[in-house]
């Protein structure tokens, strides 16, 4: 059984989803790469930010 940590699961999810978003939502390869990277940063960044918010609320 594959047991990734929560953060590893977030990174894997962000990577796969960003590849599909980049390819399907933009037309040229250059813009696909840029949009995919943008989505990846937003996915992982928002997960880290929300984690800190929940950590501070729970204290």
């Amino acid at each position: 059984m594959f047991r990734p940590s929560h953060f590893a699961a977030v990174v894997l999810f962000a990577m796969f989803a960003s590849v599909v978003f980049g390819i399907t939502q933009r037309e040229t390869p250059r813009r696909m790469v840029h949009y995919g990277a943008y989505c990846f940063v937003l996915f992982v960044g928002s997960a880290i930010l929300l984690s800190w918010v929940m950590f501070l609320i729970a204290r």
Binding site: L12, F16, V20
Partner: protein
């Protein structure tokens, strides 16, 4: 006053010709193929790189979901089950073959299995997006 029409009529004719050419045949084939097998719609349109990346991403996400003992929705008992089943069905043949092989957990018992269940559902939704993209390429709506 005399107007020269040289070159004015040829451009629209070319574009309508290309549009007509792109409408020939069964336009829904990439959509259906892309839904049944991830990336197949793009392969049919000779978009090898895009198809390979889409196939690797969707197949990878689905396999990781199964490896995490994620649940494959089989029935619709409540609204969340219906939504989960709709997402799972987006995987096309991956879902059908996995159900036939008895893969996936019946009950979610550990946290990673919950992640796995979401991975499988999202892989299905991403596959639907990829199939629609193949259809848009086929109809000429996207370059």
């Amino acid at each position: 006053m005399r107007y020269s029409q040289k070159g004015m009529a040829t451009v629209p004719n070319k574009s309508t010709g290309a549009q007509k050419e792109s409408q020939q045949g069964f336009v829904y084939l990439p959509l259906i193929a892309g839904w049944l097998v991830p990336g197949a719609g793009h392969f049919l349109l000779r978009k090898w790189g895009r198809g390979a990346l889409l196939a690797a991403s969707i197949f990878g996400m689905f396999v990781m979901g199964i490896a995490m003992q994620g649940k494959l929705y089989s029935g619709a008992h409540d609204i969340l089950d219906i939504l989960g089943l709709a997402g799972d069905l987006g995987n096309g043949m991956l879902y059908i073959v996995s159900r036939m092989m008895g893969l996936g957990a019946d009950q979610v018992q550990v946290t990673t299995a919950d992640y796995g269940t979401r991975f499988i559902v999202v892989a299905g939704l991403l596959n639907v997006i990829a199939a629609v993209d193949a259809h848009n390429l086929r109809t000429g709506r996207k370059a």
